[in-house]
């Protein structure tokens, strides 16, 4: 059973569809207790970093997310849900994030923003979520900001868009991807399947 954290930021239907297509049971959690007790969590999100943090605080979801991660439950942040795991973002005047990892979220410079489209991931670390995924596979990105982790050891994938940026991270039970696996065709479905199978 996968719990998808729903805090009203963006469309979670595609993610639900992808998991159902893979034969997985899905629960949507918007209450702290549903998240603390979850066996496996996906934290998606599209939208503004600052808005997202305000909503998460208002709904008292941040301690629940932290506790669930500390418990060791497999956790996957997608797009904004990945960025929110870091300390602060340029998107909203350096508003504080959930701070699971050290590092900042920065805006792309000198390229068309947002980056919209299919880009290749350079796999840096053979994570469980990359099992069976070819290096330089194309996945779908939609974002204006990228994560810069302080600890380079957590980087599991990069990509190029005017500059090299981090497209995936992992540390113990925690995974994060900047792209949208639910919109990345068969490659994306395989990554989700790998996460489901952890």
């Amino acid at each position: 059973m996968i719990t998808i954290i729903d805090f009203g930021a963006g469309n979670i239907q595609s993610l639900i569809n992808a998991l159902v297509f893979l034969g997985e049971r899905v629960r949507v959690g918007s209450q702290p207790k549903e998240i603390v007790s979850a066996e496996k969590v996906i934290f998606p999100g599209v939208g503004n970093f600052g808005e997202a943090m305000r909503t998460l605080k208002k709904r008292n979801l941040i301690p629940a997310i932290r506790r669930n991660i500390q418990k060791g439950a497999p956790f996957l942040g997608i797009c904004l849900g990945f960025q929110l795991l870091f300390e602060e973002s340029e998107e909203a005047n350096w508003v504080e994030g959930i701070k699971i990892f050290k590092g900042r979220v920065l805006r792309f410079q000198k390229v068309k923003v947002p980056q919209i489209g299919w880009n290749q991931i350079e796999i840096k670390k053979r994570d469980r979520i990359f099992t069976g995924i070819q290096n330089k596979s194309f996945v779908y990105f939609v974002h204006s900001f990228y994560v810069k982790p302080s600890n380079r050891k957590i980087i599991s994938g990069t990509a190029n868009y005017g500059r090299k940026f981090v497209s995936a991270i992992s540390f113990q039970n925690i995974f994060g991807v900047q792209f949208h696996p639910e919109k990345s065709g068969s490659v994306g479905l395989k990554i989700l399947k790998n996460f489901v199978n952890i």
Partner: protein, 270 residues
């Protein structure tokens, strides 16, 4: 490297129960090509990078049919879906996103009410807002219009609305720049002169707009052969290319087209 995208467009007639994909020539004559979600799934499996649904009926009463089309499609198709046609307000857009759409595309409404672009962009993010521009060549010089030199002489480009039935006097290049300022995330640029003709994309128009804006431009109208796609990516500087009838009637296979483009050095996802 960011790949150039190949996007099949499914023009949907929602008057038929469940909806039908149709193909008109120059926005007029019509042939039926199949059920929207079935065609979408076929293209997804053949390697389409995105799917665009255009509601050509664009009537408020048939709106629920489009929600169903999107819902059904999203259960099996895991690439981005754009929906256009008849979206008039935030509420219409919201329901489409809820049904599973990733982007919405507006044309007539955007011209009638440019503020809506800003509102949509603020509410759903620029990446979710595509402004469609249907442009036609005009050779009669008028003040304040941007002239583009073409192989056939000097032209300016006029925006049309209501599926090509009404002309606005609005300069397409100036309008493209304005929609970018208002918060559009992409431009879906259709050449009305080329649409349905299979004579190739309007490269002059596409290149001009691609150079004038810094958001992605999807070129549309006129695709008839795989060489046309190569031209629109190289000469036209398009970020994506859209076609309909070419794919519907099996005149070109997406995978074959993508292999060709890759051989020619275009960054393509296969």
């Amino acid at each position: 490297m960011l790949a150039k995208r190949i996007i099949p467009c499914l023009d949907c007639d929602l008057q038929k129960p469940g909806g039908r994909v149709v193909k008109g020539i120059k926005f007029k004559k019509i042939r039926y090509a199949g059920l929207p979600w079935e065609l979408a799934e076929r293209y997804y499996k053949e390697g389409a990078d995105e799917i665009v649904f255009l509601d050509i009926t664009a009537s408020a009463e048939k709106r629920a049919t489009m929600f169903e089309v999107v819902k059904k499609t999203c259960q099996k198709v895991f690439i981005p879906i754009t929906v256009g046609g008849g979206i008039r307000n935030i509420g219409d857009a919201k329901r489409l996103f809820k049904a599973g759409a990733d982007k919405i595309s507006i044309n007539t409404t955007a011209i009638q009410n440019p503020k809506l672009i800003k509102e949509l962009s603020k509410t759903f993010g620029a990446q979710a807002v595509v402004v469609a521009i249907d442009a036609i060549r005009k050779n009669k010089k008028r003040k304040g219009k941007i002239i583009v030199k073409t192989e056939k002489g000097d032209y300016w480009f006029e925006c049309s609305i209501f599926g090509g039935r009404k002309f606005t006097g609005l300069d397409a290049i100036l309008w493209a720049k304005k929609v970018e300022r208002l918060g559009a995330g992409e431009i879906l640029l259709t050449s009305m002169d080329r649409d349905g003709t299979k004579k190739g994309f309007d490269l002059k128009l596409t290149r001009k707009i691609s150079e004038e804006v810094s958001i992605p431009v999807i070129a549309s109208g006129g695709a008839g052969a795989k060489e046309d796609f190569l031209d629109v990516f190289k000469e036209g500087r398009a970020d994506a290319a859209l076609a309909a009838s070419l794919f519907h009637f099996n005149e070109a296979e997406i995978l074959e087209l993508k292999r060709y483009l890759k051989r020619k050095g275009v960054p393509i996802r296969i």
